[in-house]
């Protein structure tokens, strides 16, 4: 096999979402990029796995080395078969699963979709719209109306309320200036909306009882702004799982000359001198670069002080045998489940049309800020959604915690080393793209971030 190049402009370690965007952006403007990953799969904690690969997933490889930082690996990883008799059938269909460690949605009019389009990366990916939004109210699932017509068609919203709500929604911009109350829910209640309506609007905002007015209004606005572009809701999901997205950026990087090597077990150290990284040493060679980018997970402890992780994201992955709210056509559901007063559990229920699970099964992702352990954090919700005789049954469940690293700061990081945090708890990728852009701009000020890639259609050869 060839040797890796010994000198490049940018050396990247880790193929997570943020690293992959930086890679594409750098290759795109003509920088030579070498992109390595000690793992034999793309995506780090943003990756997708088939079922067998998920079972084989080992978040804590026994030998720590300079490129496996245990502080940042997944914690509490545990899976269980609740219906053993289905195991064989599911494992036979293992390949039909694309199970995200970090599933995300995209706002139809959000920055990310915009970036996909302007940079022409959209051509690598397909999306499905979320077909319905649900919330949990008074012990049952409720459809959240997603458009003016939905609101007006809803039996559960009175005519008077409809008027109040429309007025409210059309005047969101003014509200921020004119209202004194600082709590979003209190504000909604003060507008004499019924419990139902308050719950719907809270769901649109993904708000808890503690969400501030500013945050709440901003989120509702985002929700409403993304309506009416693709499908019936403001959200898109990536076909074959969110892990496709990081790969799409890697492909773009490669098309523009980026060199890729996964499964790099022979990395020894990043060497530094005078607060600069000078080279990467592998068992075979030394590689020099002007700049270095690594994921936290794959960065040596010596560059990361202090390490203090305060927050974790609780995750659960379930395979079930039917939808939480069966309907004639397969639905892609996003359930906003308020748990207590402080926490929202985001639940994605994905059917086979998303390319993430086989027919006749559903893949359910639960994500929430961690309070105790993933098992405990989701116990109430799972009890409500999956225990009745007419409710879906859980065939398989997998739990883990993702360290929340998006707001960590480190001291004395070498000046040409840029650190990429892992996944955050947001619904979408916005903050992560922001992070990638910031790092890009620090390395290459004044250069364009992901300009449009030429269209292959522009080089059509006919006969």
């Amino acid at each position: 096999m060839d040797e890796l190049p010994s000198e490049v402009d940018l050396l990247i370690i880790g193929t997570g979402f943020i690293e992959s965007i930086i890679s594409a952006a750098a290759s795109r403007i003509g920088k030579s990029v070498l992109h390595l990953d000690p793992n034999d799969y793309y995506g780090n904690q943003w990756g997708s796995f088939n079922l067998q690969a998920l079972l084989d997933y080992n978040p804590d490889p026994s030998e720590p080395c300079d490129f496996r930082n245990k502080s940042f690996s997944l914690k509490n990883f545990h899976y269980e078969w609740l219906m053993e008799d289905q195991k064989e059938d599911l494992l036979k269909n293992s390949r039909k699963f694309n199970i995200d460690l970090t599933p995300k949605l995209h706002y139809c009019r959000g920055d990310f979709v915009q970036l996909l389009i302007t940079s022409n990366i959209a051509r690598y990916s397909e999306f499905r719209s979320v077909t319905r939004i649900l919330t949990w109210l008074n012990g049952q699932l409720e459809l959240v109306p997603c458009s003016r017509s939905d609101v007006f068609a809803s039996q559960k919203v009175s005519v008077v309320e409809k008027r109040v709500l429309m007025k409210l929604l059309t005047s969101l911009d003014d509200i921020l200036d004119s209202e004194n109350t600082h709590n979003f829910k209190k504000f909604l209640e003060s507008r004499k909306l019924s419990d139902n309506l308050v719950t719907y609007v809270m769901a649109m905002a993904g708000a808890t009882e503690h969400t501030s007015l500013g945050e709440g209004v901003k989120s509702v606005k985002r929700f409403l702004d993304s309506l009416g572009r693709f499908g019936k809701t403001p959200y898109l999901f990536s076909m074959y799982g969110s892990g496709e997205i990081a790969q799409a950026f890697c492909r773009l990087s490669a098309v523009f000359g980026g060199i890729y090597a996964l499964n790099q077990q022979n990395l020894i150290s990043l060497d530094s001198e005078d607060n600069r990284i000078t080279s990467l040493t592998t068992t075979k060679q030394q590689i020099r670069a002007q700049n270095y980018v690594t994921s936290l997970e794959q960065c040596s402890e010596k560059f990361l002080r202090p390490v203090k992780i305060n927050n974790y994201i609780s995750r659960a992955i379930l395979i079930t045998n039917k939808s939480i709210l069966p309907s004639e056509q397969e639905q892609l559901s996003f359930l906003i489940y308020p748990e207590g007063t402080e926490r929202i559990i985001n639940v994605f229920e994905l059917g086979s049309l998303t390319g993430t699970c086989p027919k006749n099964y559903y893949l359910v992702h639960l994500t929430s800020k961690q309070v105790t352990t993933p098992q405990e954090d989701f116990k109430g919700a799972l009890g409500n959604l999956f225990s009745g005789s007419d409710q879906p049954q859980i065939i398989f469940s997998c739990y883990f915690s993702i360290p929340e690293t998006s707001d960590l700061d480190f001291e004395n990081v070498p000046e040409n080393l840029f650190l990429c945090p892992g996944p955050d708890n947001d619904l979408d990728y916005n903050s992560s793209i922001q992070k990638a852009r910031e790092i890009f701009e620090k390395m290459y000020p004044d250069l364009e971030f992901l300009p449009r890639a030429p269209d292959p259609e522009e080089i059509i050869i006919g006969d």
């Binding site: 996909l116 499905r128 719209s129 076909m239 492909r251 292959p456 006969d463």
Partner: protein, 200 residues
Amino acid sequence: MDDYKFLFKVVLVGNAGVGKTCLVRRFTQGLFPPGQGATIGVDFMIKTVDVGNEKVKLQIWDTAGQERFRSITQSYYRSAHALILVYDISCQPTFDCLPDWLREIEEYASSKVLRVLVGNKIDRDDREIPIQVGEEFAERHNMYFLETSAKESDNVERLFMQIAEDLMKQARMTNVPRYDPNSYNVDSSSQESSCCSRLT
């Protein structure tokens, strides 16, 4: 408005240096690039061909060098209609790697994908893999087989035309282009009314 009825995605895989890029360029541009290496910024090439009375558009994807260290993205294989696995008849190791490639194909490509094995560089006089050996391998794994020279333009046209014809046959039998109102390509072509899409 495009005047083609069918669009097929064809992907090439195989070890570095076996001539994938040369095959694509020979077919789409009619030339044999003197220089080495992939062309920067070219993602896939398109060529429209006639099969019977129909215009068929072939979208031909090359590996962008990610095969060099066995790091092809899974999505490269997704929704491919045909897959061309290439080795170099003058280089035994490229043939020895075929089982690894097959494993990867089984893992990531659709089981329905049309698979073709190609031994390239038959213009060379230092052949290491006899034609029968390639044939047998292809037969054992249910693949079509063809030997080519991108340099001399031997069998290149035939390779892609054969693929286009077979895919057309398949498409006619199964009525492929299904319209799924819930899926989107987010490019400009998508309608607001649909539910799965490419973004444009």
